[in-house]
Symmetry: C2
Subunit: 343 residues, 2 copies
């Protein structure tokens, strides 16, 4: 799987609506030469996330959009192959925005920062793609720092079988809450309730959401962890309690829209129920990642947090695999295995 | 002006769209007899507020709607005429939800609570309808407790020439902020800038809002005190800074709507700019009113807070006067003078 060339996918055009394969250009480049202070990283796992769709657009967003012609941005885990930086040596495991390519040049003047992983690693490397990676941290800080769930409260999470949502629900259970997941298939509903211990799960594609929420949340909704926006947010707003908290993590229902998307029709409920909506991006929490690693690592080792990973083999499959984020076909975290883990 | 009967306006029907005179029924009742523990209050000033429109509807709201046939709810200031309650005596000035009537029966088993005002009162009685009343407290807690403005930041307020907005802007100036008001006439714009010391004011009826905001807020918007929702909120969202705070006080642009109203099209900016929207109702702050009275009273006496009142004489004019809240014709606080102040 390792190559003598550096295979890359660059952004060829901005998607209009759904992502298509021709939004990416495949390139074969030479493996870059190192200058002083730089490090060459071989990508092992490439994370695929809904936020990739935001970066491909030029709408207002929380980082600069990927420019046309740039290597597609993506978080990943890799191994140092060569180093001219005294802080890194060959064989070090690292994480960072490695991009959709076999090899990334980092540090020095490259503009790419990387973080060294512990050695030995107390978890499987794949855990760092899952609950001990960005998506786990997103669940942790969004729920605990903004949602502030109290024991006995009702927490609802959308995209509940996704990488973030599935961890949100399990942390809320650890906090003593009643937890309801909203997801898009009966299979995912079963996984949430039977495997992850959610109290109930709603298939929004077949249920009447307001009726189902009323049944699953007899005491109303205190925290809604929003990954999707749109009609699901509107239904939830009809059931929120006084002083409800709504961590706003994502709006995946709107990312592929080609026309302006209205905000929630029940926006006035935020006023009437004196509630809070707060947007957040995990990059704002970097200085506090240690807290998340400590708690999530402990819960993982205690078996209190379970996770599912769908690993697609081969960088060449990234442009087709990313569609799985939007068609509802995956459970848990989606990643590309670009090259082998070190033995 | 005092009457031997108790004139009342009761809710006759719920408005569809704009309030009309026939939403109210005029009644003449006997002045009620007191039971033990009760107090008879003569209304002096009746406050008219946008929230009255919410109470007249049966949409989801923060208090029970006024029932058809009930005396229309309204905050007011009055004087105790008779008392069978040891804590109140004839002549005491009080505030409370006196309703649209000459006389209100309070305390005991009436369900109506009242608050005794200081004697002697260190301000004109009308100040308690304005900045030292509910609308002033709303400005104070919404801006300071949720908006948390810091010196040098830019604060934008909508319905800026209203009872709440005009106080918001002046408190923000006291906090050292750049303050921009959005209002509906050139006359109000002049009042905000020339009389109240706002840095700039925008007439949303004639300006291109996004262009005007870009010009008035060269450093973006850190706090948006929202009284209106709708298109103004959407324009403001395009200019908010990272970690902006949006105290959600009112949505007057939607109160008269007869169709479902979409939330802001730029809702995603709350996510992208990691911002906060928090609804609040002044009733949640009752235990902290003392803080507001202390600061606002001091600022008032120092001349740092100015206010405008439009006092309409005569309870009989309440059903027509309330329309002024929605037609943009008033500056500052609107109230009805129901009877004379004690000499």
């Amino acid at each position: 799987m390792q190559t003598a060339i550096n295979r890359q996918f660059r952004l060829a055009s901005r998607p209009v609506g759904d992502i298509t394969a021709d939004n990416f250009e495949y390139r074969e480049e030479a493996i870059p030469q190192l200058s002083d202070g730089e490090v060459l990283v071989r990508t092992i796992y490439l994370s695929l996330d809904p936020t990739n769709r935001i970066w491909m657009s030029d709408r207002p967003q929380y980082m600069p959009p990927v420019e046309i012609g740039q290597v597609m941005r993506g978080g990943g885990i890799g191994v140092v192959e060569q180093s001219k930086n005294p802080n890194f040596k060959t064989g070090d495991l690292v994480s960072g925005m490695l991009g959709w390519q076999d090899y990334a040049l980092a540090l020095g003047n490259t503009g790419l920062d990387i973080t060294k992983l512990p050695n030995p690693l107390p978890y499987p490397l794949t855990a760092l793609i899952g609950p001990l990676g960005m998506t786990g941290f997103t669940a942790y800080f969004g729920l605990l720092d903004i949602g502030k769930p109290k024991a006995g409260e009702t927490v609802v999470v959308s995209a509940a079988a996704g990488a973030v949502g599935s961890v949100v629900g399990q942390i809320a259970k650890i906090m003593g809450c009643r937890v309801i997941g909203i997801t898009g298939s009966d299979e995912k509903c079963r996984w949430l309730v039977e495997e992850l211990g959610f109290d109930d799960a709603i298939n929004y594609k077949t249920a009447n959401l307001e009726t189902a929420l009323a049944k699953s949340c007899p005491d109303g909704i205190d925290v809604y962890f929003d990954n999707v926006g749109g009609a699901i947010l509107d239904a939830v707003l009809t059931k929120i309690n006084l002083h409800a908290r709504i961590p706003l993590c994502g709006l995946i229902s709107t990312y592929n829209a080609t026309e302006p998307v209205p905000g929630p029709y029940n926006y006035s409920q935020i006023l009437m129920q004196r509630s809070l909506v707060q947007g957040f991006i995990i990059l704002d929490y970097v200085p506090r990642f240690g807290e998340a690693i400590k708690d999530l690592g402990q819960w993982l080792n205690q078996g209190k947090i379970k996770y599912a990973l769908e690993i697609v083999e081969g960088l060449e499959n990234a442009p087709s695999a990313i569609l799985k984020l939007f068609d509802g076909s995956k459970i848990g975290k989606l990643a590309i295995k670009v090259s082998q883990e070190p033995v």
